[in-house]
């Protein structure tokens, strides 16, 4: 009886529906514009009878793609590759470290646990960009500036990921399950690997998703750390093209490459999000915590 929302008491809620339609349009417009603009040539981006939100007469998407592959020796694809490298190495590393630490905090009552965990919680409030300049100063002393490590190493730290894994361990991983494995003679690492990890899979995928996105979206850190354009991720590279198109001479204006490059770069992550919906839509967010 009382399991679901009362039936029959669901008015049409027209105002809510209208509101949602407006929202959908608002959130789609920039992406729609980007899709349309990526099919346009440089002059078409400026003046086109069809307006910025509709396709122009000729379809230049493939011409833009080949432009991306030839301009500056196709450095665009290198930027995209760098972004992938940083996001996956950083994301996988951060997830591994977070899973180990979150599990350790949740399942072992060692001395000093409370204090160390309070430090972790506190560091959630240290803004990531407040660390960028200090990291730069330190890395320049260690000659790590302008190397891939300057971007990858700082992204290994994920206090939020550690926090999420700890909460998930406490709620979804019963001690009895671990004790059963121990009684069977499994070592602590074996218990972790073959009993606990499979239970934690949803949390691990979510933390991986969060940390890959965080590294992929990074702009301030790589912009400060990397001076060689060959090491740039896509965000820093596109910003370079954007500023050069804004201030440069006509020959340097590559608006069509900025736009189509931005479009191509966001497709993989949007597709990934569509496929991984059940992970980010599930309850594993800070919201479900007490």
């Amino acid at each position: 009886m009382s399991t679901s929302k009362p039936h029959g008491y669901q008015p049409k809620r027209i105002p809510s529906q209208v509101f949602l339609v407006i929202l959908c349009v608002y959130f789609l417009i920039p992406l729609w514009w980007l899709l349309v603009a990526s099919t346009k040539s440089n002059p078409d981006l400026f003046v086109s009878s069809s307006g910025p939100l509709w396709f122009s007469g000729h379809f230049s998407f493939f011409a833009n793609l080949s432009g991306l592959s030839t301009y500056s020796n196709g450095i665009y694809w290198r930027w995209l590759g760098n972004s992938l490298l940083y996001a996956f190495v950083g994301g996988i590393g951060a997830t591994t470290i977070s899973v180990l630490a979150g599990y350790g905090f949740a399942k072992y009552n060692f001395k000093g646990r409370g204090f160390v965990f309070a430090l972790v919680l506190g560091s959630v409030m240290v803004p990531a960009t407040a660390l960028v300049l200090p990291l730069f100063m330190m890395f320049s002393k260690l000659s790590l500036i302008n190397t891939i490590w300057a971007v990858i190493l700082p992204s290994l730290l994920s206090p939020v990921g550690t926090y999420l894994i700890r909460v998930y361990c406490q709620e979804a991983l019963p001690d009895e399950l671990m004790d059963a494995a121990r009684v069977d003679g499994a070592s602590e690492f074996r218990t972790f690997w073959s009993v606990s990890i499979p239970q934690l899979r949803p949390a691990i995928v979510t933390v991986l998703l969060l940390s890959v996105v965080a590294t992929w979206n990074n702009f301030f850190l790589p912009q400060i750390m990397l001076s060689s354009s060959k090491l740039w991720p896509i965000t820093v590279g596109l910003n370079y093209w954007l500023t050069h198109s804004s201030v440069g001479s006509t020959s340097e204006q590559v608006w069509n490459l900025v736009v189509s490059g931005a479009f191509v770069s966001i497709v993989p992550l949007i597709v990934a999000f569509l496929f991984l919906q059940r992970y980010w839509q599930s309850g594993l967010t800070l919201g479900s915590l007490k």
């Binding site: 399991t3 959130f27 399942k107 301030f220 910003n239 966001i266």
Partner: protein
């Protein structure tokens, strides 16, 4: 089983065993601790150390103690940037959290296809880097590329320049709102999903409207996640950097290089080479953000249930 029944000695050894096993915890958190110390504690410490020195004109650095901090907190450019981001906090945080809450509430009560589609579309910007979000909006705002000029021309009007100094504040608020509302919405939405339906079904049966139930029954129950979202939004806004930096390409006169404290710090370091002073700015900003969010959490500790 036998350990429990055979008396004190085995029980003591069981406790010892437990204690020994608990030491494994250190091993599991060791990699995290290393990363934490090397990439958080050490750089902050080093930046603080650098902030205590000043580069002399004749080479070599001079120890000046807290002098740089006196300079920072009397530096009109830094204070102006700080006031600016504080203003952004006052406007942007309520808009983001308010909108995210309203959307989450509606999506929680509607189970139509449209609701599912909206949930997806509102969250989608999270998958787009902030740099590219700002880039798209800067094109849409632009009088040369965007739809606004054409739209106003159709009605015989001159379009306002969104990238003019007077309008840039609203322009940036819009970019950030578009980028982040979906993320907060998902957090609030999953908190709502965790609310026990029996708590509001009674109210609904008693004839309360969905809006009344939302405000009087559901809202109080999701306060902890609202507080978390507010803290994240607060931290993000105080360290504003990416969006104004990208929009600057299209609006250099409206957004100076010192627009926010973070932009100012980067400018002091890389355009003027004053690394000691830049460290001071970065460190001061970090402290302000930390104190701000800590204070907020402290004041709302009763509501959030955090200790």
């Amino acid at each position: 089983m036998s350990a429990i029944t055979t008396g004190a000695a085995p029980r003591a050894s069981l406790a010892k065993l437990r204690q020994r096993r608990d030491r494994w915890g250190w091993l599991f958190i060791a990699p995290f601790l290393v990363v934490f110390i090397v990439f958080l504690v050490a750089p902050l410490g080093y930046a603080f150390w650098l902030s205590l020195w000043q580069k002399g004109l004749v080479g070599g650095a001079r120890f000046t103690g807290l002098y740089n901090y006196v300079r920072v907190f009397t530096d009109p450019v830094f204070l102006q940037g700080l006031r600016r981001v504080a203003y952004y906090v006052l406007v942007m945080v309520p808009i983001q959290i308010g909108l995210a809450t309203i959307i989450a509430m509606i999506l929680d009560t509607l189970t139509t296809k449209l609701a599912r589609l909206s949930r997806l579309l509102v969250f989608l910007p999270y998958a787009v880097p902030a740099m590219i979000g700002a880039l798209m909006w800067s094109f849409l705002y632009s009088p040369n590329f965007g739809p606004i000029t054409g739209l106003f021309k159709q009605f015989g009007l001159t379009a306002p320049n969104i990238l003019a100094p007077d309008n840039i504040f609203g322009a940036l608020v819009n970019v950030v709102t578009w980028q982040w509302v979906g993320y907060y919405m998902i957090i609030i939405f999953s908190a709502l999903k965790a609310v026990d339906p029996s708590l509001y079904e009674a109210a609904l049966l008693d004839g309360a409207s969905t809006t009344q139930t939302a405000i009087h029954v559901k809202l109080p129950l999701i306060v902890p996640s609202l507080i978390m979202c507010t803290v994240f939004s607060l931290i993000g806004t105080l360290q504003f950097y990416t969006e104004p930096t990208i929009l600057r390409a299209a609006a250099p006169s409206a957004i100076p290089v010192t627009y926010t404290p973070n932009m100012y710090a980067a400018n002091v370091a890389f355009s003027r080479g004053l690394f000691n002073y830049a460290s001071t700015i970065a460190f001061s900003l970090g402290i302000i953000v930390f104190i701000g969010s800590y204070l907020f959490l402290f004041l709302t500790r009763k509501q959030s249930g955090l200790k």
